[in-house]
């Protein structure tokens, strides 16, 4: 099986294949941070469940949040003892690759889609993400031409599917 993965690149299937053998790339602190965040969330949910009114509306949340808090505490203790290295974590080079993409997505979702219009923002983000992560040369005119053609073709399909077929009214913003 290791031979199989050696020849392939990342995908969910490969992650599944590798999952039992993959060595963690994060440090003990790397595993502790999510454990602390989950514990904080569980504590917050439990606090709200036990303090908000009407109490009857929070009966089930109390039950679930109490179990969640116990599990989050258990998870935190295991992480603090270095026994919670499940999951690969995220390597530094992966952070460098995904952060620009996540920021671009966030700008699209929280700002551009509403203010520039759904189609204008989607076209821009498709083109930027494709161009930014495309292994093809950024100096070749041919590559840029292909990027423009793929973007226009894909967005035309999206327009046909959502606006013409499903009649979805999208926010128009400044542009379209």
């Amino acid at each position: 099986m290791s031979e199989l993965t050696a020849n392939t690149d990342d995908s969910s299937a490969h992650d599944a294949l590798n999952s039992t053998d993959a060595k963690p790339v994060a440090s003990r602190m790397g595993y502790l941070i999510p454990a602390v965040l989950v514990l904080g969330l569980a504590g917050f949910v439990t606090y709200i469940s036990y303090t908000q009114e009407p109490a009857d509306a929070f009966l089930f949340p109390r039950l679930i949040s109490s179990v969640m808090l116990i599990l989050a505490l258990w998870n935190f203790v295991r992480a603090a003892l270095g026994k919670s290295k499940v999951g690969q974590g995220i390597a530094a080079r992966v952070w460098l690759r995904i952060v620009p993409g996540i920021l671009l997505m966030a700008a699209f979702v929280f700002f551009a889609a509403k203010y520039f219009g759904f189609y204008a923002a989607s076209t821009a983000v498709f083109f930027l993400m494709y161009s930014g992560y495309d292994p093809a040369s950024h100096l070749s005119v041919k590559s840029w031409r292909r990027r423009v053609i793929v973007t226009v073709a894909f967005m035309s399909v999206i327009y046909a599917l959502f606006t013409l077929l499903l009649k979805v009214q999208t926010p128009r913003g400044i542009f379209l």
């Binding site: 990342d10 949040s65 989050a72 499940v86």
Partner: protein, 502 residues
């Protein structure tokens, strides 16, 4: 034989076209590495809003069936499993393709998928009504424990850490409580306007399954994909059919293992394929030929992963407990069309459910025909650069989430949940129990409240929820699922320590 009455519905023009479209589209999506069957079905749900419930379900069912089978194309031709369910297929399928037997491998892969799939759907047809009648005897306390069992089983089996698996389930249950409480009319956990209406299941499904895959594709950066497809030589279909039909042992192991695994909530096709492959290899007179291009390996793996599809819907349709993450997404699809699984499903919506199940049977045949026809093209789609796939999935996810209620709030929720799930998954948390918690949360809470009201009238809540033979069986199963996961985690850790010390 009630299902025979509803066969005509499958062949109505719109339904049949959707079945055809879902099958062909699913085959292509399944062949694309990085696009899991679960994500494909989640992204398709918004397209079913405009359709009648039966038609919407036919589309989703066809996509579910064919994405699992389509994953074999890239596993055989590119040595990249399109989905985790096709990992075992790649072992011998790719070796066959390298020996110039790519067409034969594709033929037997789709034929065995079809045979396994048909047997799986027949099990669904004959088991579901029996279980549904049995489920009619369930009261609120039993349904509450069933919902909790669904979360604990998937949390225990689908995760590599039982604590993190159960925590994921609890997170899902909590997400399901956000919004207005219909009974008390109170606001719960509404921290932002986008959460006023609660977390829409479809929005959450799209975010949880699509956004992590987008980020995963971005994690490859600008590295060139070294994917070289193997040229497919022509091969006699009749010979492949004869080989498949004569492989009774491999087909039997595959379908039995796949069907059994499908019935167990949360286990999924990956395990089915690998387990069937392993058993076939062990029982073979020539085990060393496995991994070197033995067709029996492909037949066992593919018949198992498609035999799993039908039975995975049995607990879903009767008890609201999905047998796989993709079945959990299908449950979301059922709920948005106002169809609530349970004991009375076959009494309330016989036409919808039987037409849907029948379409899965017809879909198996279409999958075999079109699978073989489009395999070569599907392999080309698998070579589409990840930058395009990531951008396309992102835009589809945003449009899909927006179209649920035409609300930007849904897009925000989808994105936040998706990014959060990416980071959680990297640190061992699991999407399947979280999704199941989100879906089963309202069922668990409604039955908990209803049960509490009954309990206050006739006895105490403790007596109502903790006594009675069925309650005790369900509680025992909840505890057993947790303990099994706990001890298997301990065993795995000990094995790792021993391996490290050697």
């Amino acid at each position: 034989m009630e299902f025979l009455q509803y066969f005509g519905g499958v062949f109505e023009p719109t339904s049949f076209l959707l079945l055809l479209g879902g099958t062909i589209g699913g085959l292509i999506l399944g062949a694309t590495p990085g696009l899991s069957p679960t994500m494909a079905v989640a992204l398709l749900i918004p397209f079913t809003f405009q359709l009648a419930p039966t038609q919407g379900l036919i589309l989703l069912g066809a996509a579910y069936t064919s994405t699992v089978a389509g994953g074999a194309v890239s596993a055989i031709l590119l040595r990249i499993p399109g989905a985790p369910a096709n990992i075992a297929t790649a072992l011998d399928g790719n070796a066959m393709a390298k020996q110039g037997r790519g067409a034969e491998a594709l033929h037997i892969s789709f034929l065995s998928s079809g045979i396994g799939g048909v047997i799986g759907v027949l099990l669904l047809i004959f088991l579901t009504p029996v279980l549904a009648k049995w489920a009619l005897a369930f009261g609120p306390s039993h349904l509450f424990w069933m919902a909790i069992l669904g979360v604990t089983v998937i949390g225990s089996l689908d995760s590599k850490s039982f604590v993190k698996g159960l925590l994921s389930g609890c997170l899902g249950l909590w997400l399901s409580m956000i919004g207005y409480d219909d009974i008390q009319g109170a606001q719960r956990f509404i921290f932002h306007d986008a959460l006023t209406g609660g977390v829409s299941i479809i929005t959450a499904l799209i975010g949880i399954f699509a956004i992590p895959q987008v980020i995963d594709m971005l994690a490859a950066g600008r590295e060139k994909q070294n994917i070289a497809s193997i040229k497919v030589e022509k091969h006699s279909f009749i010979d492949s059919l004869a080989l498949t039909l004569s492989s009774i042992k491999s087909l039997s192991i595959g379908t039995v293992v796949g069907s059994f695994i499908g019935l167990i909530p949360g286990v999924g096709g990956q395990i089915a394929g690998l387990l069937a492959y392993d058993q076939t290899k062990k029982l073979s007179s020539n085990p060393e030929s496995f991994g070197q291009g033995n067709p029996q390996g492909v037949i066992a793996a593919e018949s198992a992963n498609n035999a799993m599809v039908g039975p995975s819907l049995v607990p879903l349709l009767t008890l609201s407990i999905p047998g796989s993450p993709t079945a959990a997404v299908l449950l979301g699809g059922l709920l948005i069309h106002g169809i609530f699984p349970g004991g009375d499903l076959f009494d309330n919506h016989p036409e919808v459910i039987w037409t849907f199940i029948n379409s899965m049977l017809v879909g198996q045949v279409l999958m075999v025909i079109f699978g073989i026809a489009v395999a070569a093209y599907a392999a080309k789609v698998a070579q589409v650069p990840k930058a395009i796939m990531a951008s396309a999935v992102l835009v589809l996810a945003v449009f899909g989430a927006y179209s649920v209620q035409q609300s930007m709030g849904d897009v925000y929720v989808m994105f936040v949940l998706g990014v959060g799930m990416y980071f959680l998954e990297k640190f061992g948390f699991s999407a399947a129990p979280l999704v199941l918690g989100l879906i089963l949360g309202p069922i668990a809470e409604a039955n908990f409240i209803q049960g509490s009201l009954i309990a206050n009238a006739i006895s105490s809540p403790a007596q109502y929820f903790l006594t009675g033979s069925l309650n005790l069986v369900l509680i025992a199963l909840v505890i057993a699922s947790i303990l099994w996961s706990f001890f298997s985690t301990q065993k795995e850790n000990r094995a790792k320590k021993e391996a490290n010390s050697l």
